[in-house]
């Protein structure tokens, strides 16, 4: 090996060691543990084959969490991306008060999710909460928004959208500012309407950003469960349990780490699918260079 190569590896070494210890090793360890029983009293669990996975297949809470998570992703991602794009277009235009608007949209991003969850918990509180105040003033009947399995998941989704839309707005804002003004001028000279210009010029140019935001949104919808811990603890009746929250409960409330590992494998598979999806798409039609 040349001196140059040795230097290269030496520079890389500290980061590589920590990455291996806290990312790659845990991934392999998760897979390994998912085929073993939970460690008891310091003794490593024996090999149990697919037993943890069999438990999973018959675990109703797992299926509930998985379907909840899919609905949660389907509900939050398109709405927050659409809102983010709308916000970015507004903030990027010559609209009055756009500095104020940018602040209003972006502020939730700076707050901790747990603070956000606390604020919204109060918002949804029966009788005292602001939501109740509004609905009773409008003559609607009182309702426990977070305590009702029908509405609880939707409430949590609203919180996620509120928190994330402003974050995604930033990426669109950056992309919009990189579009050459000459394109708009050319479109105007050709007599293209504003909606036509948006559909045929701006939107296609934003495609890589949309993909980037989409992948991040997918990851976040499986990664962030802070608000679940604060607002509902997965309840009522597991109506708001998401996959990672279920892992957290199995792993750290029931201390069944073998089964928690098997559940984590499912989560990792979903994230890997998102990664491969991005990889495949990036080479296809979304990239303009």
């Amino acid at each position: 090996m040349s001196r140059n190569a040795i230097h290269g590896w030496l520079l890389l070494l500290p980061a590589a060691a920590l990455l291996a210890l806290f990312t790659h090793w845990p991934v392999v360890g998760t897979l390994w543990d998912s085929f073993h029983a939970t460690t008891r009293a310091g003794k490593p669990g024996p090999f149990v084959g697919l037993e943890n996975y069999q438990v999973m297949v018959s675990d109703e809470v797992f299926w509930r969490s998985l379907t909840n998570n899919l609905w949660y992703a389907l509900g939050t991602i398109p709405v927050s991306i659409a809102l983010a794009l709308l916000m970015a277009l507004w903030v990027n235009s010559a609209m009055r008060g756009r500095t104020w608007l940018r602040m209003a949209f972006f502020t939730p991003t700076v707050l901790p999710m747990i603070a956000v969850a606390n604020i919204w918990l109060f918002f949804f509180t029966p009788q005292y909460g602001l939501l109740e105040q509004v609905t009773t003033a409008l003559g609607m009947s009182s309702r426990n928004w977070l305590g009702d399995p029908e509405t609880a998941l939707a409430c949590v989704m609203v919180v996620a959208i509120w928190k994330e839309a402003g974050f995604f707005m930033i990426f669109y804002l950056a992309a919009l500012q990189s579009i050459a003004p000459s394109l708009a001028e050319a479109a105007a000279i050709e007599g293209a309407s504003r909606s036509y210009y948006f559909r045929r010029v701006v939107f296609p140019l934003l495609m890589p950003t949309t993909l980037f935001v989409l992948v991040n949104a997918v990851i976040n919808s499986f990664r962030l469960v802070d608000h679940i811990v604060v607002m509902t603890k997965g309840g009522p009746n597991n109506a708001t349990s998401l996959l990672l929250f279920h892992i957290y409960q199995v792993g750290f409330s029931f201390w069944d780490t073998g089964y928690a590992a098997a559940l984590t494998v499912v989560l990792l598979a979903i994230l890997a699918a998102a990664a491969i999806g991005q990889f495949v798409f990036l080479d296809k039609r979304v990239h303009y260079q």
């Binding site: 790659h24 990027n92 010559a94 999710m113 579009i179 980037f212």
Partner: protein, 269 residues
């Protein structure tokens, strides 16, 4: 393009803006007024800091703040050193296995430590550092995001500058420190802001790994406080909530442009 927008559209934008700021405004109202005004909106309601005082006295928030400060400082400092070195290797060195190594780094962009809680808890337990501030930060120190961001930046540095410094007799690390790091200053600022807000706000992993006042960051402290024996004194809980988000929120409101630009810069890859 900065096109003029119609009145109707401006109104819609403002409505969304008001809607977006409303939950926070509501929290501010509740926190700064006596409890009996928390749902009565009269403009003449007396302002009060009593809720903040009660929250501050009811839980060891001072300690939580110290812990959070220690955490974000430690994480950011180690991230900057490790990511700079790794990014330099990826940007300017040729060695066998570099591409594979880079792919392995990128894995962390998809599979973040946030989802590897079960295994990482085990590792911390084996290392004997459960319930400590380093245990909260360690999994995040080798940040793939930081490495990627700095590598992209270092690659744009003209090689002539690098070579000129070497001709002057500077060693590899000196070149890194004197040429690359100063040129990447805006990126460091951007990354720093993103990292600090991420780790100040992080919750699930610190919740799992900490177990005592001595190591809990503010987010976990807030949760312990608000789910504890406070009952449902919303005014006090809201005050505590604003207090924990306070430093970042104030910094954001003061340096709004820098914040937004930093997040934008970190987002363009």
């Amino acid at each position: 393009m900065r096109a003029e927008r119609g009145l109707l559209e401006t109104a819609a934008a403002w409505l969304l803006g008001v809607l977006w700021i409303l939950p926070l405004a509501y929290a501010v109202w509740t926190a700064f007024h006596p409890p009996e005004y928390s749902v009565h909106f009269t403009p003449l309601a007396p302002l009060s800091l009593e809720n903040f005082r009660r929250a501050w006295e009811a839980a060891p928030f001072a300690r939580y703040f110290v812990n959070s400060f220690a955490l974000v400082t430690m994480v950011l400092a180690s991230q900057l050193v490790l990511c700079t070195l790794a990014a330099y290797a990826f940007a300017r060195y040729e060695f066998r296995g570099k591409d594979v190594a880079f792919l392995l780094v990128l894995v962390q962009l998809m599979i973040m430590p946030d989802v590897l809680i079960v295994e990482n808890y085990r590792t911390m337990s084996r290392l004997g550092i459960l319930d400590s501030i380093p245990a909260i930060g360690l999994p995040y120190v080798a940040s793939a995001f930081g490495i990627f961001l700095l590598r992209q930046t270092f690659k744009t540095v003209p090689r002539e500058l690098d070579e000129a410094a070497r001709v002057e007799g500077a060693g590899a690390l000196q070149v890194l420190w004197k040429v690359y790091v100063p040129l990447a200053r805006p990126v460091y600022l951007a990354y720093g802001l993103v990292s600090v807000s991420y780790h100040w706000n992080n919750f699930l992993w610190p919740l799992i790994i900490t177990n005592s006042v001595a190591s809990r960051p503010v987010t976990v402290g807030l949760q312990v406080f608000s789910s504890g024996d406070q009952g449902i004194d919303w005014s006090v809980i809201t005050a505590a909530t604003l207090m924990t988000s306070g430093p970042l929120l104030v910094a954001f409101l003061l340096f709004q442009r820098q914040f937004v630009q930093s997040f934008m810069r970190a987002g363009i890859r």
